[in-house]
Amino acid sequence: MKTPAIPEVLPAQELDLPEALPADQPRLRRRRESTAGGVLGKVMGAFLAWVVRPIIGILFCFNYFTSILVTGWTYRWMQGLVLRGWWKQSRLHREGSFEDFCLTLGHAAPVLRPRWLVRERIIATLTRPAPDGSRPGALRKAFRILSLPWFSLWLNLKVGIQALFCTYLLTGWGCLLMYFSWEYGWLNSFNKGYEEAFIGPLAGFLGIFLFIAAMFYVPMAQVHQAVTGDVRAFIDFRFVWRLIQACPVTYVGLAAFIALASLPLEILKTAPAFFDDHFDAWTNASDAQVLHMLQTYLLVCCAVLFPTLLLARFLAASVYRAAVLKVVRRGCIAEHDLHPVLDDWLTRLGLRGPLPAAAPKMRWGTGSIAWWLVGTLDLIVLVAAFLAVVVVGPGAWPAVLGVWILLTILLVPFFLIRRGALAQFLRFNGRRLVFGLLFWMWFGFVAKVYVGEFLNRHPYAGFLNHTLVQLPCFDFIPAHLRQSAKP
């Protein structure tokens, strides 16, 4: 497929000089807003932000390479969203604009509406002092000018690659095992290798569990990486698990959204199984015409994928924003657990309180070893109960319920001997519930991939790429069709 052309130059939504001034000059800002040019600029900016950039995003979702840019772009967008959310909760919200605040963070500060190609904050970039604090020389300025047309492109690519590297670092193992299981499992089944028949399903189950386990953590870690702009932040396990524990309900909601939103995307991905050879318009078309029709269809799918992805990122950013404030205000993390970038921003915004020197122990907390063990045990019991119902029949339901109640009651004495026991007991069971809910949400997410791949197989991409989690790409044009459609 031909990569959609990137517009030569995106109309710049540039700050004019008064906006580049420090935030403590609100009068200048108000004067700019009142001018006709300012209003026109805002309208143009809004047009670019809400029409042109999404269109580019949609086009970029149509190719594997450009979808890396989409990943980077959405990460930068999340960064701006989170920072703006905190800024709105701070006193600075009443004292100046968000842009004013961002300028105090330097020329590389987050932006609310990232660009695809051209550098943001051009004037601030050109006029910023050299590393030694002196005025920039002509040569330095020339280099900076050279970077202007493609800096955002480079940034999107860099952030995108970093993001995908980290995401695959955790989710990739599960994906690989699922893929291996599908390939090897059916290969073995075809050849009736009864002696090794267990390897395929076993690898599949292991892959599914690994993927689900990774997805317990990844959505929050993705935002943490995006907001801090730091690759290493992705594996800041202690901090990320505390964030998940701080907002379990909304985090489960986020998982539910991604799982549910991926369902129509899976349907769209699978639907071409029922186009050609089923409808005369497709059946009677030449290869070139089929290619064109399929491209059009997939482009429409991209128009569904990109907004869905933005919505998922928006929700993830919202959950993260609230979770960070919670853990900081409650002192659930140690001073050194807070990432320097977050520390700096929250301090400037006045949202950061004192933190303990050592973080409270996780004990049964979300992400702790105990949480994993208890959650897994619950899961085994549930699956065993389900199997019992299948084997014995509906009569097994009372026994299953009995076991569940017994398991819950058995733990009561361990809690009741201490103060605040009831709250602890409820929290403990709440976390078990969170484990169960997260597991089944992500299980549903994976299960629909299996169904989709049975109906319409996508070699490699089917199991190795999940569009709302990894590469947001909807390029499902078969290689043989590209080949045969060539004149």
């Binding site: 075809f190 009864y194 186009f275 050609d276 290869d287 399929l294 791949e453 319409n456 197989r457």
Partner: protein
């Protein structure tokens, strides 16, 4: 009134011919399209009483009906020597000896599905029908034919033992174990065919184990229960004998050669070939249907499952053909009919264009290759449209038994008969 009593047989012949002629002329006058496959062929005999009286001994040719199963397209089989994955069927059976009908269709009508169970029943009964699963379980596909199968016609007309009217089935399609007879009140279980499959071998092993006096009570109870479950899958034969000395001998030989554990015998579609070769030697079937199936593995998306399976089936046909030629009784007295149960999709929007057979246009398009004594060898394919169900009538013509309940409008592949 009439001076002579009416001969009912002659009356039915004439009535059928008259109705056929009227319908042909009406169709010709109203519609310029190509008439439905071979509607000009004289319809098969439409009466039950033709078989009245004791069955006669069979002296006609043997027929080996090969379900080129799991659904295949013409492209990878018979369309051209460059694209075929079944060189034996293409070069030997079609090009050197037999005839190819390359425009055979499965009718596109509501309720007519392009799947394996249905396709097999269309072949067996010679009639399209909407089949519904009688077990009402997901993916069970337990169908029952309402009209007689070719095996029932054959065994009703001729004195052919149950074990000489054989169906050979694969190891993991239990639902296909029960296509041996129809629910028709004049035919049915009395004239059924016999199935050879690993499923049947397992039930044989259980029966043998239960004969042992050394079996502990608990073990005996378990094995009896297991055997009952296997046998009772077909509720219609619970009160019927499911074994015979010939079959027991066949399975005993199989066990002696391949053992009991199932890990020594050939696997996949190769086991069907092995069963067919042994059956030819030991059971001497007159009508043998082999239900190959492994091309269907491509549902899971690996394209080479399909092409490899075609080649494996082709090699199986070659082995069976060679076995027939090496056997004096079968040589020059055995007709091969190769026909798929259904086609497969031709969906260019999918990475594997033939992954499924979702009732698409191409899934309705199949072929028939016939070769053997009495079969024409025109050296060019028959391009006229024919119907899959006409295979049943064609078998009837070859083996000279009436097929009263087949859809006569589909004809009987008359070009293949010399």
């Amino acid at each position: 009134m009439f001076s002579q009593p009416i001969d009912r047989r002659r009356f039915l012949y004439q009535a059928a011919a008259g109705v056929g002629a009227i319908s042909t002329s009406l169709a010709g006058g109203c519609d310029e399209r190509e008439p439905k496959a071979a509607s000009a062929d004289p319809p098969p005999v439409a009466e039950e009483e033709v078989n009245a009286g004791p069955p006669k001994p069979y002296t006609g040719p043997n027929v080996i009906l090969i379900r080129f199963g799991g659904g295949v397209r013409r492209l990878e089989t018979v369309l051209s020597p460059e694209t075929t994955y079944c060189p034996f069927v293409y070069h030997e059976l079609y090009k050197k000896q037999g005839i190819l009908f390359n425009h055979v269709d499965i009718e596109s009508s509501p309720g007519i599905e392009t799947s394996h169970g249905q396709g097999t029943l269309y072949l067996l009964t010679g009639k399209y029908d909407h089949y519904e699963d009688i077990s009402h379980k997901p993916l069970a596909d337990r169908f029952e034919a309402k009209v007689p199968t070719i095996f029932e016609y054959l065994r009703k007309k001729y004195d052919i033992a149950e074990h000489q009217a054989l169906i050979i089935n694969g190891e993991d399609r239990i639902n296909e174990e029960f296509y041996t007879f129809s629910n028709h009140h004049l035919y049915g279980v009395r004239f059924r065919s016999t199935v050879l499959s690993l499923y049947r071998f397992k039930s044989y092993l259980l029966r043998e184990e239960l004969k042992s006096a050394e079996l502990a009570d608990k073990e005996r109870e378990e094995k009896t229960k297991q055997l009952r479950e296997m046998e009772n899958k077909d509720y219609r034969v619970q009160d019927r004998r499911v074994t015979s000395p010939e079959l027991d001998r066949f399975w005993a030989n199989w066990r002696n050669y391949y053992g009991r554990m199932g890990l020594v015998n050939p696997r996949g579609d190769r086991v069907l070939t092995a069963l067919a070769l042994r059956a030819l030697r030991e059971l001497r079937p007159k009508l043998l249907m082999i239900n190959y199936q492994d091309t269907d593995y491509v549902h899971w998306g690996n394209p080479h499952f399909y092409t490899r399976a075609i080649s494996i089936i082709d090699d199986g046909i070659r082995q069976i053909y060679e076995a027939v030629q090496a056997d004096e009784e079968y040589r020059n007295n055995t007709v091969f009919l190769v026909v798929p149960d259904c086609g497969r999709d031709n969906n260019r929007c999918m990475a594997v264009t033939y992954q499924h057979h979702f009732n698409s246009k191409c899934a309705h398009e199949i072929f028939v290759v016939a070769a053997g004594p009495g079969i024409a060898h025109p050296q060019v394919p028959v391009d006229k449209r024919r119907q899959q169900i006409s295979v049943a009538a064609a078998v009837g013509k070859l083996m000279k038994f009436p097929t009263a309940h087949v859809d006569g409008s589909a004809g009987y592949l008359k070009e293949m008969l010399l």
